[in-house]
Symmetry: C2
Subunit: 352 residues, 2 copies
Amino acid sequence: MSDSAVIPPGRDHDGPVTGYDVARAAGVSQSTVSRALRGDARVVAQTREHVLQVARELGYVVNQSARSLITRRTCTIAIVSGDLRNPAYSLLIQVLQEQFHARDHRVLLLSDHDEGAGRFERDLDSLRGGLVDGIVHISARTGSSAVADLVGVGLPLVVLNRDVEGRLARVVDRVTSDNLTGGRLLAAHLHERGARRIAVVGGPADNPSLRRRARGFARELARLGSPLDPSLIRRGTVTSAFGVSAALELLDVPAARRPEAVFGETDYIALGVLEAAAQLGLRVPGDLQVVGYNDLEWAGWTMIDLTTVRQPMREMAQAAGDALFARMADPHAPQVVRNFGVELVERGSTRS
Amino acid sequence: MSDSAVIPPGRDHDGPVTGYDVARAAGVSQSTVSRALRGDARVVAQTREHVLQVARELGYVVNQSARSLITRRTCTIAIVSGDLRNPAYSLLIQVLQEQFHARDHRVLLLSDHDEGAGRFERDLDSLRGGLVDGIVHISARTGSSAVADLVGVGLPLVVLNRDVEGRLARVVDRVTSDNLTGGRLLAAHLHERGARRIAVVGGPADNPSLRRRARGFARELARLGSPLDPSLIRRGTVTSAFGVSAALELLDVPAARRPEAVFGETDYIALGVLEAAAQLGLRVPGDLQVVGYNDLEWAGWTMIDLTTVRQPMREMAQAAGDALFARMADPHAPQVVRNFGVELVERGSTRS
DNA sequence: CTGTTAGCGCTTTCAC
DNA sequence: GTGAAAGCGCTAACAG
């Protein structure tokens, strides 16, 4: 008795308001409530208005779990990404998120960083458990095992910003940019600026995108008649810290043996190279030319002013989203492989 | 006949493998399957092993929607954030995500950016629809309406990195840092370095955190006997572009009237100030001292070398996660309000 | 310790 | 155009 006063009209239980409560309060069946709320054309306008009105008064919202259980759709997309502190990832995620939102889908954020204890495995099970309708994978973990795992989930999948090699190459939908050409452009640019003795500071050897970049770079130099000296190549992690240490090693030698230019395979690495140059008192671009790759936000700042290669990140994210929705709409659609063009951005670190 | 060969043993339907399929294949009841998979102590080891074995063979994974429908928990936390390109947000999200993962929870990423058409309203309905177990809000939209909306959802909520004012101040769990002291530290530092004519380039006036920063700054200067000249205060957006334009306006005057120092309320603004100074040929810190706030990654790079205030972002994110889980565990626990200490980071932009 | 039974809240045939 | 009834896959009482 005393409790019943607290319960809104049309309800005889606690907990959230259900469609059944709305039905009773509105004097219709639960099916009609369901139809009215989804805008089913079969329900007559007057009834619909009434139901919506009652639903609003009762503060009803549809329970997503119950809906998903029966529709087998969640309107959620998983984005599997590496460390968000990498601004390349956060930009892509931002653009993807806006796009998915515009299509009335939400974003579940998963990490492909393997923080021990098979956490990634558990995420895979979540994905298999009907938590999302599709997956976008943004490159991070080197090697292609993560990609293979995600393919194994059996959901629509798009790989963004990463070349896929091997067996999966002809299966996986993906959006990348032309790393081969990007490397070529930088090589041609440095060569044109007079650099002959050129060093490379790169990321892990098993990263397909970086590998293509480096290959394009090396091929172009060879074509131009001054092939890369293998002893001037350093490989490590994609961090400015590695850029610094590798560059110090390469540059702290007599001027005659010192490279005239360094290609950092990513802007972060190139930043480290710039720092090392500053530490050694080398002037850029006078004593040393430096180029990077990605055109991150800060590459254009006056104090840094790094020549680099720009990939059309926004367009790539957009294309990835399009590809994913196309795949979700038709599992049998032909494979999508898009390779976006890149652009050399000439700045002060190479201006002569 | 021809189709039945495709169906794994113990299944008589298509679609994903269900717990019922596993039960039949293992010769037990569905409840036992459920118990075995959740590690319920009541099921005997031998049975459990057998069930798990069969489940593995059949490729069974529990359906999250069905589970959530009945448990009323989703093991998912919503992070409501502004534009991810802001590195402060991406850092917080990264740390939160790691923490939630460690506690076996996933992250649903929502934007509080109001891209027209009541999208945020729809997100709120999703949250009300049992999509998540809790919410972390990372400051973005100015004004407190977003916070009020999120409180209205009725789920455990923690506001991170933002001061809350007004009616909600004594209700909402939150984790912030001591912006008042941060402002004070910068003011004292500049004063000690001899600056008397000091300008401020700030963000929107209705951002509680920035307001406190500015207040601490102004109070300390007043206390030191050289109160801020209101004509040297500019307010706009938190972008380096605004920093540039505001600084050009403030600095492009005869040296006698020119400020000796500028406080950018965020590092991004301060970066713009540095750019403006460079454009005007002013030397930092010789002709102009500059300070920012946040200690973003790049603030410490040699080429930028910005004096700023560091907030313990990782610890704050950690505390926010702790507070959220505490609240989820006990809705009636006392309000959590944590205010972390800050630290002045002296760098070249003020070194004398 | 295991099985039976009854829903969670919704969508969706199928009648009317 | 609307209602009745079934059931999505799972968990949780309750028996035994």
